[in-house]
């Protein structure tokens, strides 16, 4: 049995070695999807199997939210195809070369590109408990080792070697995210649409204030981006169907917020149709106060605008909705309810390149006006182009109006907008 296990481990190790490559002295997986499994003979004696599974799913999801790698539980494939196995044991355990030491001191260990073992003599507990050692925190730490991270002696790092009792809601902080991204890269675009959701609210003093939140949409899920924290909301992405009722559940083309002294209307666009969204009741209108039913044809609501569109946004200065389709931009006058004179225009003419040949040209993914940056951004693929603001032109009047600056990677400005595996979308 021992010889068989040695052979098995060596063959698995060779396979993993072939699948991995060295990167700056560390070892990393070179796959985008890693499969994991709980070792059948290594369940915890203290937590139910479902509790263990929930914790591990959450632990893998927490890493997946900050790196371009997905994790999938796989209980059917041959063992040799499983990348990470997790199990509990005491003393000499699970054919492991390193024995556990009993209660106290060591609580777990992990192997690069390999398995994770938890000391079953420790009192591991589920996230809902305030006692014992948080299995979630330990699992996240050990998965970090499997991914190639070493210990980091920094307050707040999940990779500290010593166990720190879990304060409520621990998360991977900025430095831990950068550490794993130095091995696996950052998460990149494209996105279907990006927008700031602006709304009026009353604060605790009863005063009317205007607030906004930033949202990124891709396929059937979305992220809320916390600009002040330079990351997405913990726990995102979420399913579009859960957060935005009544609109198409995937592949939104554009979002427009028409915000004037007399209007405060939000629209989602997909295909040949558009929906008006009721922010107060958090769902799309079936029928609005004017008697219009939704979804409605774009050609009816916005005469002259072709569909489907690539992107759109409302320019509050001109009171025009700019619709982008292919290589052209259409300015729609919401007051006169028609296309503005001299439109459509070529995007490259209306938004000239500041640096020659550095321009998205057409087929944009999104046109995003950011209230954080007070700037319009044009998104395409993994990149964005910043449109010059009035402030930029005041400091340098030689720059062209609506000029676009050279491309930059979306991931350089908006951080950690990462997919997770579909099986982890709901825990």
């Amino acid at each position: 049995r021992k010889r068989f296990l040695d052979l098995l481990m060596n063959s698995e190790k060779n396979r993993k070695e072939q699948e991995a490559f060295q990167n700056s002295g560390g070892r990393v997986f070179n796959k985008k999807l890693l499969k994991w499994r709980m070792i059948g003979e290594g369940y915890s004696s203290q937590l139910s199997i479902n509790e263990q599974r929930y914790v591990f799913r959450l632990a893998f999801r927490m890493w997946s939210e900050v790196m371009p790698v997905d994790f999938e539980e796989d209980n059917t494939s041959p063992l040799s195809q499983i990348d990470i196995k997790l199990g509990f044991g005491r003393g000499r355990h699970l054919g492991c070369s390193r024995a556990f030491d009993g209660s106290g001191q060591e609580f777990a260990h992990a192997w690069f590109l390999g398995d994770i073992h938890f000391d079953d003599d420790e009192h591991f507990t589920a996230p809902s408990s305030d006692n014992g050692i948080s299995l979630l925190k330990v699992a996240v730490h050990e998965i970090g080792h499997v991914l190639g991270l070493s210990h980091i002696h920094r307050t707040g790092s999940i990779m500290q070697p010593n166990y720190i009792p879990q304060e409520s809601g621990f998360e991977l902080d900025w430095s831990d995210r950068r550490a794993v991204q130095s091995l696996y890269g950052s998460c990149e675009g494209p996105f279907d649409t990006v927008f700031d959701w602006v709304r009026k609210e009353r604060n605790q003093f009863g005063e009317m204030v205007v607030r906004y939140n930033t949202y990124f949409f891709r396929n059937s899920w979305y992220w809320m981006y916390e600009n002040r924290n330079n990351r997405t909301r913990y726990g995102d992405p979420l399913a579009v169907s859960n957060g935005w009722q009544g609109i198409p559940t995937q592949n939104i083309d554009a979002f427009v917020h028409v915000w004037t002294w007399t209007r405060d209307d939000c629209y989602f666009f997909k295909g040949t149709q558009y929906w008006r969204y009721d922010g107060e009741n958090d769902k799309a209108y079936a029928v609005d106060a004017q008697g219009r039913t939704y979804p409605r044809l774009i050609s009816e609501g916005f005469p002259g605008i072709p569909s489907p569109i690539n992107a759109a946004y409302f320019d509050r200065r001109t009171q025009h909705i700019l619709f982008f389709k292919d290589f052209q931009v259409y300015a729609f006058d919401i007051v006169r309810n028609r296309i503005a004179p001299n439109f459509p225009k070529r995007i490259v003419d209306f938004f000239p390149a500041v640096i020659k040949n550095n321009h998205p040209m057409g087929h944009l993914d999104a046109a995003y006006y950011s209230y954080t940056h007070n700037t319009l951004f044009l998104f395409k693929g993994k990149d964005f182009w910043k449109v010059l603001s009035d402030k930029d032109r005041r400091s340098n009047p030689s720059l062209p109006q609506n000029g676009v600056l050279p491309r930059r990677a979306i991931a350089e400005q908006w951080f950690d907008i990462c997919n997770v595996h579909t099986t982890l979308l709901r825990l």
Partner: protein, 150 residues
């Protein structure tokens, strides 16, 4: 049955639990430092067990102590114990006394991960990866809000 009293079993105790050996003196401290790669990098490979605990044999250690007349046994070709201890103390935000004081012992006896802090994946191929301290200059300014629960 493992002993418990609470309805939700949250006070569950291991019935025949084995207590981990604690660090109590210089020899056990040296073993700790060697085990986790502070004395010299550990080859952390799941198929190799022997390199992970080079100072396990305490009888040899004690004989070395008696024969040299020193309070601590120094492995050959390894940094002096005091220097290693200072390094450990520094990275653990302890006063770098170089002495095995109570604070250092407590730090060594804290629950910890079994992966060595200083390791190499394969011999003679890689630079040892020592515990990293952050480059503080790379962090952008962040919002003042406390982290929210997901």
């Amino acid at each position: 049955e493992k002993l418990f009293y609470r309805r939700d079993h949250s006070d569950l105790q291991s019935s025949n639990f084995q207590q981990a050996e604690l660090v109590t003196d210089v020899i056990s401290a040296q073993q700790y430092l060697a085990k986790y790669g502070w004395t010299e990098p550990v080859i952390w490979d799941e198929t190799q067990a022997s390199n992970s605990e080079p100072l396990k044999d305490t009888s040899l250690m004690e004989e070395a102590v008696r024969s040299t007349g020193k309070r601590s046994a120094e492995p050959t070709n390894s940094p002096p114990f005091v220097e290693v201890l200072k390094k450990f103390q520094k990275l653990n935000n302890l006063p770098t006394t170089g002495r095995l004081d109570d604070a250092t012992i407590n730090a060594m006896n804290k629950p910890r991960c079994g992966v060595p802090d200083n390791q190499v994946s394969k011999p003679s191929q890689e630079k040892p990866s020592f515990p990293r301290t952050p480059n503080k200059g790379t962090m952008p300014s962040q919002g003042a809000d406390a982290p929210k629960t997901r």
